[in-house]
Symmetry: C2
């Protein structure tokens, strides 16, 4: 038995951290099925060369894989004809409907808040990310409109994911994030659908011990900074989840620590939450820990718990000891040195 | 000459902090035209009694006023037929297109970050706040859609407001907040329109010394927590501005400190950024400083700078001395005691 893993480093430091995650997976030995890696292309650089940020071959090859690791993309902020974010497209094409982002502080991480231990469960296929936008000229200038889509189906399945994750955690609490005081129809549907999940017949009472809370998104961000300890699992529509996970990452000291998976019913793609960081690209100082943890989270979603635990423990030890850290965490080590330190603890 | 000010305490602690702001305005004496107050109704409580959260009489009366102070509303989070947030409605009906929220740390405020000194300039009439929402049943369950509207006209006038405010500040920097890597059309229009403001013929080069930066909204929130000192004036579409101002408020120690105005071309309405806080309603411990500062900001927008400065200095002294603070700032004082302390410093 082998584990076929698509590797899509994409742009910038993606090309530095994905090889580190690969090295860690290779070092796990018999704790996981033998990994077989399939290098794949996507991103801004590929777009500038060939005109397609997500080549068909990449999507086709991924469909033959058991899982994948994605690096980061450099999106242009100005409008470029024909360019569309490959990560947003991949999430939709592979129906990876849940973006799961655990954010926890590790003791001894300088600059981190001590009491953060939460998971952002972000809906990953709709909201404003459907990218249905239009622009029309009028007498008073141009007017642009975007559609924000919230469906019962997507809200229900992301709700289930959130409750499932909460069940596996000591506090068993789900906080629904919304803005239904303004968006009573769309966020109203999200809120109501997630709330209704525990009573679904197929759930059979399995979530009865999970406590349900809710927060309006603006006040959720405020309270995240003031009292992060009130959160366990946060479930949110796509854009709120995007913002919340960056906000939570700030609390634990660096985006360079925060992993994620894009998960569907039959495929999972690990992805560090950080971006392509053009400012430090090529310097060999990118923090590989988010990518390494994303590999662990990917394994966890596939049921390879022993391997995932080994990686997470090794990463935690490296952070706790605080001797081999990249500059984003106040250290002076290189990507390769942090990787070596993790490999040694493995 | 007199200053006719509509007072809309609305719900919850709005009814405790607006009287405090009124008392401070009354104490200014000849530094401002004699204030004449017009008490007006709006909010959830009014809705539950009379079926209209924003009675027509309130809107009509405001049109006869020079300015107004709004407290806070208790929005129901569930959908209630016929209810619509009165503050969102007021902003639109009076065309108060700019929501201006200065957030600055005061030395000696425990729990506050030292280097925050920024202004969030939030577009106040469109984005998802146009509340054009629909829900349709389908074979796979219900689907809800909301329209997000971004116009050139609204983006241009909020841009001007941001540049005007930046001109009056030492650093003269505007950071445009957007998510045009995903919303290339709507946020693309916002970004491009704000960027084009300095070159408009009617501006006549007045903004040439203002530095323009930009940030993607998720990374803007991340950096706000990590390096708040990088921001001076942040200009944002409605919803991002809503979230950003709460995030910034968390940095300075309490939402109970952060004022705002809703400003149009010929009317300005002060409003503390905090909500109606049902948990502490009626206890007499609400922090009145955000409402008092909102009164000062209202005066400033009307050109009554001397009065505004007096209020701001008094508030700063009270915070700096740290002896009379409400519980949100770690103190044990009552609303009335904080008001008295401000009046004494005035
Ligand atoms: C790069 C961008 C399209 C992406 C998103 O908004 O989802 C990123 O911010 C993320 O969080 O993965
Ligand atoms: C109460 C709510 C409608 C309002 C908003 O979203 O604008 C509030 O959060 C604010 O920031 O003034």
């Amino acid at each position: 038995q082998s584990l076929k893993i698509g590797l899509i480093p994409a742009d910038g430091i993606g090309k530095e951290v994905i090889p580190a995650a690969k090295a860690v997976l290779e070092a796990l030995g018999s704790d996981i099925p033998k990994p077989e890696f399939v290098p794949l292309l996507a991103g801004w650089e590929v777009f500038t060369r060939g005109g397609n940020a997500l080549p068909h071959e990449t999507v086709d090859a991924l469909k033959e894989c058991d899982a994948a690791l994605f690096g980061a993309v450099s999106s242009p902020t100005r409008r470029v004809t024909g360019y569309s974010s490959p990560i947003v497209q991949l999430r939709k094409e592979l129906d990876l409907y849940a973006n799961v982002r655990p954010v926890a502080s590790v003791a001894a991480n300088p600059g981190g808040k001590p009491d953060v231990d939460l998971v952002v469960v972000r809906e990953n296929t709709e909201c404003l990310y459907v990218k249905q936008e239009q622009i029309t000229p009028t007498e008073n200038g141009r007017e642009a409109r975007a559609i924000r889509l919230i469906t019962e189906r997507a809200s229900s399945r992301i709700g289930k994911m959130a409750f499932d994750i909460a069940l596996g955690r000591p506090r068993k609490q789900v906080t629904i994030i919304h803005k239904s005081n303004v968006l009573s129809v769309t966020d109203g549907l999200f809120r109501e659908t997630v709330r209704a999940v525990p009573a679904l017949p197929e759930i059979n009472g399995a979530y009865d011990n999970v406590k349900i809370e809710e927060q309006i998104v603006d006040s959720a961000v405020y309270r995240l900074f003031r009292e992060p300890e009130i959160y366990d699992v946060m479930v949110a529509p796509n854009l709120y989840g995007d913002i919340l996970s960056d906000a939570a990452a700030a609390l634990v000291g660096s985006l360079g620590l925060v992993p994620s998976v894009n998960a569907g019913d039959s495929f999972v793609m690990g992805e560090p939450v950080h971006g392509s960081a053009p400012d430090i690209e090529g310097k060999g100082i990118a923090n590989p820990l988010a990518a390494i943890r994303s590999a662990a989270l990917m394994l966890r979603f596939q049921g390879h718990t022993v391997g995932a635990d080994r990686i997470d423990r090794a990463v935690e030890q490296v952070i706790r000891e605080g001797e081999v850290l990249t500059p984003d965490l106040g250290g002076t080590s290189k990507t390769q040195e942090v990787l070596d330190a993790v490999l040694k603890k493995l």
